[in-house]
Symmetry: D2
Subunit: 320 residues, 4 copies
Amino acid sequence: MSAPAAPTTTRTYSYLGPAGTFTEAALAQVPEAVGQNWRSVNNVGEALDDVVSGRSDAAMIAIENSVEGGVSVAQDALANIPGIQIIGEYLVSVNFVLVARPGTRIEDVRVINAHPVAYAQCHLWLDATLPNHEHIPASSNVAAASTLFEGSLADAAVAPPNITKHYDVELLAENLGDNPNAVTRFVLVSRTVVVSEPTGSDKTSLIVELPEDEAGSLLSLLEQFSTRGVNLSLIQSRPIGDALGRYRFVIDADGHIRDERVADALLGVKRFSPSVIFLGSYPRADKAVITHKTRYSNEVFADARDWLRGIVSGETASSD
Amino acid sequence: MSAPAAPTTTRTYSYLGPAGTFTEAALAQVPEAVGQNWRSVNNVGEALDDVVSGRSDAAMIAIENSVEGGVSVAQDALANIPGIQIIGEYLVSVNFVLVARPGTRIEDVRVINAHPVAYAQCHLWLDATLPNHEHIPASSNVAAASTLFEGSLADAAVAPPNITKHYDVELLAENLGDNPNAVTRFVLVSRTVVVSEPTGSDKTSLIVELPEDEAGSLLSLLEQFSTRGVNLSLIQSRPIGDALGRYRFVIDADGHIRDERVADALLGVKRFSPSVIFLGSYPRADKAVITHKTRYSNEVFADARDWLRGIVSGETASSD
Amino acid sequence: MSAPAAPTTTRTYSYLGPAGTFTEAALAQVPEAVGQNWRSVNNVGEALDDVVSGRSDAAMIAIENSVEGGVSVAQDALANIPGIQIIGEYLVSVNFVLVARPGTRIEDVRVINAHPVAYAQCHLWLDATLPNHEHIPASSNVAAASTLFEGSLADAAVAPPNITKHYDVELLAENLGDNPNAVTRFVLVSRTVVVSEPTGSDKTSLIVELPEDEAGSLLSLLEQFSTRGVNLSLIQSRPIGDALGRYRFVIDADGHIRDERVADALLGVKRFSPSVIFLGSYPRADKAVITHKTRYSNEVFADARDWLRGIVSGETASSD
Amino acid sequence: MSAPAAPTTTRTYSYLGPAGTFTEAALAQVPEAVGQNWRSVNNVGEALDDVVSGRSDAAMIAIENSVEGGVSVAQDALANIPGIQIIGEYLVSVNFVLVARPGTRIEDVRVINAHPVAYAQCHLWLDATLPNHEHIPASSNVAAASTLFEGSLADAAVAPPNITKHYDVELLAENLGDNPNAVTRFVLVSRTVVVSEPTGSDKTSLIVELPEDEAGSLLSLLEQFSTRGVNLSLIQSRPIGDALGRYRFVIDADGHIRDERVADALLGVKRFSPSVIFLGSYPRADKAVITHKTRYSNEVFADARDWLRGIVSGETASSD
């Protein structure tokens, strides 16, 4: 990561707090953030606003999880806020516990406070274990637990496992998550900077709008990548918001914008689309090395350009 | 619409209540539902469960809105509950008002109760008018208002315009919606029945899973439609939920499963995909007549089959 | 091969003669033709006319060779003569010798009689060995040699290796062919019959015209095959003949018209094209077994049809 | 045309002679060739060799006609001879007359001398008018007539209409051509030079080899053009000659190599193909103006490059 601020200065990182959230766990994976100033905020908008305004050097936000899909607020914010860029990607295993005020017994639980995403991920367990429960939505996973002590109507809360380090709660049950492999993907966002060098294991994120009123335009968009040998690991639609049926696409492409094939695909996409937002090229959390056919290598791109230049200039002409 | 129950019996329709919701407004558009039994339920799962269990003949649910995109809970329910089918589509203009307990002045409002989707749609107005407001999420647009009288911490609620017919609230402001053209799309769902006849203005809804670990498989899926001249009005990704990056696609195709080109595209999709769910073919709410090139007409499909049959049987052979 | 005449009757096979031609060598590979009546004709048109008129049961004609490509006369004849069908495919290695009247020395050869295709295949050898030679075109490879004794101006002739069995010629040189792997592909043609059963190693030949005035129509044609997993071993353009730039395409597809994926591709092609000629499905000369992904198997096609039928009929409905 | 030699020097143009051929008629359409040295040669190979060796400045050769398709010898020569380039395109209407030695009556004609291509174009007329005729192939359309006076066995010859200006022949019949709209396309070929400026009505010719052993590679080749909005007016297969089933493709694309979309398509083709031969970008004979969607204009290509450069350099970053 090319640090957005000088290394001698203390840097500030915003994250969805308070202490104990999964977002905090993601930020703990960033070596450059260790020992720096961590700023707890209330929502994604606030985190990104910190970056744009310069209050923070970077912000950690959840962008995709294996149960709920793209976190729509984050995707929409990235689509609408100019001047920011993804510089890193982090994965956090997601599981949940059921906690309550000390002395509560699980058979007495009727009203449960839970962030809607967490609630969706624990739905099967809750339906089976507490069939008559009622759900009150919370603003965050930690808030679900913390408000137990602030006059909440809830008897119990769904919370991250490390909540017990931060609050004096009673642990009623563990491993509530319906999917034991659940993972949430976080991205670290900074102001726009010079794109870092490729590592060979990179990802490039885009938000692309389709041309209007044209049959097959998604097909044409995908061909811009496939004809350059660029694989997509994510393609997700999000409504643009101005009319029913109008969508933009959030795309993660394998490779780095400094890879010739990715750059060429982006040129094709840019010419095709009325609006392309480059969100960043950054090292992959899964460390997977991106491979491709020889025909899509940087050398082949450079050779083709040399060939074309020779033809146009007539350099390859026979002397006479 | 082919009525799912005999006309002499009273039919039951489930909808997200209570009275005053947009879903109720959608149900009011169904001629067959007039004068029948309307059953108010608390969420989409309950509505669909009514249909599956036979408690209701049909259920009205929100499936897409112009601001928030596919209503994820509804899409996931349709993907996971067998034996149900979409039989109709309805559009409702969406706008919001700000209401409060009688005597409240707008300048005194600090805490606002609002369903998260409604809140997102009124975000700009609220930020501009009440910059210091705090948001409490409600379980429905009507509940946001009704809980004002049940000890809620909220000072005001975001609610549908006709809320004033049902509750004794004070109207503080109108037209809160950021997008004046906002529309929500609802579908009427019944148990699986014989598919109704095409009307010439139809839509076919599917949920399709992509083959795993195959580059370009979304491209291949889209080609199944484009090579048969079938246009898609909606393609939206939803996470399957078992692993990060695994998605299924919610698709609305122009035309009816009894149109040859749509049927042939569905055969292609079925052979290609590990899982296809047919959600229904039904008349379009926008009444748009679907046109296509002559080469995709039913007659051309029938002629091609005759031609093939003649070849294989040697019927077209010269006599000797 | 399903014999076009009853086995107890003597069958007649037409071929480009006289004895000694490569076409005769191809006919010698047909087990059913052994001991039957072989009819030597002067050109492809005559051979096919024999079949159409019933004078012959089948005709052997050259259809493609590795140097000259599609034999245009044969391809155009197949495109224009209705009621005929390819029922078999045969490969003959092609090489040439230089022969002359007895007593001729190679250093005395100046004028060479050769069929134009043979001449093209021996061009490099002739230019290197006899740089000052002159070429007189012959109507067939054997005629090139036989006319040496009929007052021809030629000093020598390019001919098939077995010419020395049939004519009293002096062998001046062997292995004239520029390409030692040269092979000519022949097809056996009969009147239209019931298509034979698939063998698992089959080829299907078509002639397809593209829709006029439509950008990308060749791409669309190829997609009809690729979306059904059908590989093409040959695609060759031939002018339609009515205007400059108007072409039809000669196509060899892997598989048999009784294979579901091939039949479905043909249906797609038929709907798309203003003119499709089915030339036949027949066992491959190279005996290569055609493989395909599971998704393109006959079972998958049948399952998809069952699935569609169930949906349309509502058979998959939940009972109530 | 950028003249390959200084304008004050006399230039030499090679063409398939002798005087009276269609090729001569094509050369007569070239303004720069008027009053220069015209060199009659015996075949296409000789004409191109004149250019390569410098004996001529340019050569006129037939490349496609509406009946016989690509003139295979010319296409193969262009594929195999380096250092030459197409600099112009010309169309000549093609029709034929039947001529004989003075005193011959049409009812006495039995043996007809004709170039094989001419013979094929007059086949229907000859079969109808002289059903018992015999055909002797000639080396050119003019030679067919001229050899009538050199001891030919032929009674009559098929020749171009203006043959009567050059030889003392008797005109037996006119308008023999089966297709009254028959046209032959000629190209003017010079040594490789700096490509001329686009005129807005241009054509770019290529010869492209497909990657081996790869299903769908022709489809991928065509996509290189379609994704850049480049239409193809000709795509024709020619055998490479080393093995059965190996083909290269002769392609005429709308537009000029100095058009950004064509250049970008050529880069894509070059990266994809094991062998690409650029034959030239030159003004179209039909003067058709090439149009395209705005998204494929030079400005859009330049804008996309600027956008990409800004992103990679971080120039679009917010200042801080």
